[in-house]
């Protein structure tokens, strides 16, 4: 490989890691914002969302340039395609963090009932998501497809917590009619976190595609 092409690939990889760090940080701040119903932290997330969008555009442009200039094949092509898709998935996760922050910013609630948060497993929902993000980032750094695949199983935890949250929120709203807007907003938070988990599963699939050239998505229709 010509050295400058290798350098370009490393720069692209570095850009995706930076995006990853930024989006993880956004989700961590969204967690703090919602658990503490902290509007200041929520505003930080909303302001930084513009950086996520700008970084997405920059990486898209770098991928386009790389394909146009170096016509990659085989593992290089899979890498570039994976980075392109991961970039898009990360940006969507950033959108969900922004959406959660906007809920906090616009909410009138002074705080979150600790017992409600416990019953909802909100902390577990966030921490599972953040662990998935960290593990996937590490699996990409180590080129460890098995680790990426194992992360996909954690998405089931998110789905289960989200599925259970509906009844808890309905029950709480019945008993605390004034908390109806808060409960509806929290329902939206769980939907966003569950969708973020789906995007992380997509990222896991892209990492496996890059490393092993295996297509994991749509197993019933995929040829490979």
């Amino acid at each position: 490989m010509v050295k400058f092409v290798e350098t370009e690939l490393q720069q692209l990889r570095g850009g995706v890691y930076d995006m990853w760090t930024l989006v993880s940080s956004q989700m961590e701040l969204a967690r703090q914002a919602v658990l503490g119903m902290d509007r200041n932290i929520a505003r930080q997330v909303i302001v930084r969302e513009r950086r996520v969008d700008a970084m997405e555009l920059k990486l898209d442009s770098e991928v386009e340039d790389f394909i146009a200039l170096y016509t990659p094949v085989a593992v290089d092509l899979r890498f570039v395609l994976a980075m392109f898709k991961i970039n898009g998935d990360l940006e969507r996760i950033g959108d969900y963090a922004d959406g959660i922050a906007r809920f906090v910013k616009d909410s009138d609630a002074a705080g979150l009932d600790a017992e409600l948060a416990e019953r909802l497993q909100l902390e577990t929902m966030f921490s599972t998501l953040l662990i998935m993000m960290d593990d996937l980032r590490q699996s990409l750094m180590d080129e460890d497809a098995a680790r990426a695949t194992s992360v996909m199983a954690m998405d089931d935890t998110l789905d289960a917590i989200k599925a259970a949250s509906g009844d808890v929120l309905v029950d709480y709203a019945r008993k605390n009619i004034d908390a109806m807007p808060l409960c509806m907003g929290l329902g939206g938070v769980f939907r966003k976190l569950e969708r973020a988990g789906d995007h992380l599963s997509n990222i896991a699939e892209e990492i496996v595609f890059y490393i092993d050239a295996k297509v994991l998505k749509h197993p019933d229709t995929s040829e490979q």
Binding site: M1, V2, V5, V73, A74, R78
Partner: protein, 250 residues
């Protein structure tokens, strides 16, 4: 159906072992690309298919090469008949110092065809087949040397196709041409595949991926990998192939 079959082919230039135990099948009416670094043996292998290496001093072949099931190195094989069936196009266009018409008619005439109407019709068909007719129909008596490099190369393809071969060998046919002429040659390859089996040697990875159905990667006289072109350029099974096509070789 296999058009060309190579069976445990070893080839030597004196003491130098240039091709090592190559076995491969080339299907009929497919385009097969040979890729690999300079000196890997891909052109040597290509030239065995119409016995172009026969007269090289000290050259020796072990193994078998069959075209349409016939061993082309069997005693009694008519080499001129073989070459009529297996045409060849080289890296640099090599038109004869004759008119455009005479270049294409040459193969027909040396094969004893005297019917002028037939020759004229076949020349036109061949030039049309080589996507050159519209550019030269009004100057068929002009010297072939008056054509551009890309036109000369298409003329050489027309000359090869005039005698209705069933195999066309191409040794880096577009490496001396500009991108537009290269595109015309590549289009031509795609069109000709319905009539002939094409084996092309190329150093241009994109060209191999664009025009071929199957690709063989050669290295140091060995055929490292031979597979569907899509597989070779997306997920080759051998690390050496991946290193070569991604430019990490060596």
């Amino acid at each position: 159906m296999e058009k060309i079959e190579a069976r445990d082919v070893n080839f030597y230039y004196g003491d130098f072992h240039a091709l090592k135990g190559i076995t491969m099948d080339i299907p009929q009416n497919k385009v097969v690309a040979f890729i690999g670094p300079s000196g890997c043996g891909k052109s040597t292998f290509l030239r065995l298919f119409n016995r172009m290496n026969d007269l090289i001093p000290g050259a020796r072949l072990d193994g078998k090469i069959l075209i349409d099931g016939q061993d082309i190195y069997a005693p009694g094989t008519q080499v001129d008949e073989l070459r009529k069936n297996v045409g060849m196009v080289f890296q640099r266009p090599n038109p004869f110092p004759k008119s455009i018409f005479e270049n294409v008619a040459y193969g027909l005439k040396v094969n004893g065809i005297r019917d002028k109407k037939f020759i004229a019709r076949r020349v036109e068909e061949s030039l049309r087949g080589a996507a050159l007719w519209n550019e030269v129909k009004d100057k068929l008596d002009a010297s072939a040397y008056a054509l551009s490099g890309g036109q000369q190369q298409r003329l050489c393809i027309a000359r090869a196709m005039a005698v209705s071969p069933s195999v066309l060998l191409m040794d880096e046919p577009a490496s001396a041409l500009d991108p537009i002429s290269t595109a015309k040659i590549e289009e031509l390859i795609c069109e000709l595949r319905s009539q002939v089996t094409i084996v092309i040697v190329t150093h241009n990875m994109q060209q191999a991926s664009r025009v071929s159905d199957m690709t063989a990667f050669f290295y140091m006289g060995e055929m490292v990998e031979y597979d569907d072109t899509r597989v070779i350029f997306t997920n080759p099974s051998k690390e050496a192939t991946q290193n070569y096509i991604t430019g990490r070789f060596g």
